[in-house]
């Protein structure tokens, strides 16, 4: 359903993502593993359109997204939760979520958001910038979800978040996926989190895919060797 083939991405003049192809089926979850600086964020930014692709293609359900601006990709069904959350610090929680309602039929926040993230309802009127890291992460996920995505892209959602909240986020993501039926593409360094949400794994090393495996046959030691320096 979500198909990337032969993607090359440059960051300025440096050649970062080299000939990456991947495929994400409906309701599947793909984890992109790799150490810092191996190109995970660059790959994900290219998928949402924050960085241009030099060559290759990105398609969602037959629609070519490769040359579209970010907002057109969102309209087509891709949603993005960036590294560092990037919530709007001066907007309150409710307004932050509402920014994602651009293309949805209803202009009010769907009720499942507060059902899955009750803390966001409590903090409704608080400025986004005053939330804790974990709360901001939930806010960023909620903001992405209200766009009704077919593919939810998350860039290192566990970064800087305490372990108990990491577990909670994994559980919530799985429940949300079951109920709403979207696919997930997540980049991670924390293997335990990835194991909990993903059924497909790829490992990025210096911008190339060096390992690709389904969860059932995954050799954990092998993946760990790619993640340690």
């Amino acid at each position: 359903m979500f198909e990337v083939s032969g993607l090359d991405v440059y960051y300025g003049e440096s050649y970062i993502i080299r000939n990456v192809s991947l495929s994400l089926p409906e309701k599947g979850t793909l984890a992109v593993m790799g150490r810092n600086g191996m190109g995970k964020t660059t790959l994900l930014k290219a998928l949402i359109g924050m960085l241009p692709a030099r060559s290759g293609s990105i398609r969602l359900g037959g629609v070519d997204l490769t040359r579209l601006a970010s907002y057109a990709r969102v309209k087509a069904g891709v949603a993005f939760v960036p590294q560092g959350r990037m919530i709007f610090p001066m907007l309150n929680v409710q307004e932050n979520i509402m920014t994602g309602l651009e293309y949805s039929s209803s202009k009010s926040i769907p009720s499942y958001i507060y059902r899955f993230f009750p803390v966001l309802q409590e903090m409704k009127g608080r400025r986004g910038g005053n939330l804790s890291g974990g709360q901001q992460q939930m806010l960023a996920i909620a903001r992405a979800l209200v766009t009704d995505p077919k593919v939810l892209i998350l860039d290192e959602p566990t970064e800087g978040i305490q372990p108990s909240i990491i577990k909670e986020i994994a559980r919530t993501l799985n429940d949300l996926k079951r109920e709403l039926g979207f696919s997930i593409l997540v980049s991670e360094q924390v293997l335990s989190f990835a194991m909990e949400v993903a059924d497909q794994f790829i490992v990025l090393d210096r911008g190339r895919i060096v390992h690709e495996e389904a969860k059932e046959s995954l050799n954990i030691q092998r993946v760990k060797s790619f993640l340690t320096v």
């Binding site: 970010s70 993005f80 001066m90 920014t99 994602g100 910038g129």
Partner: protein
């Protein structure tokens, strides 16, 4: 100082406040929210003033018996003309400079010179002025010693109305939410689905339109020439920077404190000394609070 003088001084400050506020509102959106240093902002005000002049001339020629209400037509005309010019400028010019603040400064300064020359060619280099409608002429006599000019009352009411309108637009509407999101993080706004190009153009056009309204108002307190905008642009920047960019409330409070202090200082010293003292105070305040007087702080 007796009571009447105090009332008139305070009113003078209030009147200066509303003029400063009208000047600064458009800039608060373009410079404060969008971060674009638009040196041609003054020329957008001038456009509003010339549009008012054209409207008044049109009424004089074709509907002299309606001269009393031309100003009510001129306000939307000035707004729409500056809005349209602002929209065109953003699409054709300013959008290419978003990540280059210094180039923006030079480019828009060049643009300001081009616009001034265009006005000189079209309207001539002399001063033009419009007649004040009779119902705005003369003072409102509160009692035998307190006299308040009616046109100033009109300007205060207009400034209040425009500020309220901008506040409601920014904080209570979907378009306002888009503007606030894009001005905080353009890339992320696009990644949640907001058409940032459209929002940028409309935001810039809105700021320009507000400059047009300010220009319209200036015809009520002075005459217009091609360089008029230069007189106002510095004050507008001072108000916005002093108030703290990114905050509409800051702009309002900043305009109020600058206007009231200047008006009261003028009572005790000469006009230019008052102006100088005011600028010195602004410099000292900005030295200790570089982000302006009224800023909102969040953890991250």
């Amino acid at each position: 100082m007796n009571f009447s003088i105090a009332v008139m001084q305070a009113f003078d400050g209030l009147s200066l406040f509303s003029v400063l506020l009208l000047m600064a509102l458009g800039l608060a959106i373009i410079f404060g929210l969008m971060g674009v240093i638009n040196m041609a902002h003054g020329e957008l005000m001038t456009l509003g003033a010339y549009m008012t002049y054209l409207t008044a001339s049109g009424f004089e020629k074709y509907a002299p018996n309606l001269m009393g209400i031309y100003i009510l037509v001129a306000i939307p005309v000035a707004f729409l003309a500056s809005f349209a010019l602002g929209y065109a400028l953003e699409r054709l010019f300013v959008q290419w400079f978003y990540r280059r603040p210094l180039d923006t400064l030079l480019a828009t300064w060049g643009l300001s010179l081009i616009l001034q020359q265009a006005y000189r060619t079209i309207f001539g280099s002399g001063e033009v002025s419009v007649p004040l409608p009779s119902w705005l002429n003369g003072p409102w006599n509160l009692n035998s010693t307190i006299q308040i000019p009616l046109n100033r009352v009109f300007i205060i009411a207009l400034a209040a109305g425009v500020t309220l309108g901008v506040y409601v637009l920014l904080n209570r509407t979907r378009s306002g939410l888009r503007i606030r999101a894009v001005t905080q993080n353009r890339a992320m706004s696009a990644a949640v689905g907001i058409n940032t190009r459209k929002v940028d153009a409309l935001t810039f056009a809105l700021g320009s339109g507000l400059a047009g309204i300010a220009g319209c108002v200036f015809t009520m307190i002075g005459s217009t020439n091609p360089g008029t905008g230069q007189l106002y642009i510095v004050n507008a920047f001072i108000v916005v920077v002093f108030g703290g960019v990114q905050s509409l409330m800051g702009t309002v409070l900043s305009a109020f404190s600058i206007a009231q202090s200047q008006s009261w200082l003028e009572y005790f010293m000469s006009g230019s000394m008052a102006k100088m003292t005011m600028l010195a105070i602004v410099i000292v305040v900005l030295y200790f609070k570089p982000s302006g007087l009224f800023t909102t702080r969040v953890r991250s």
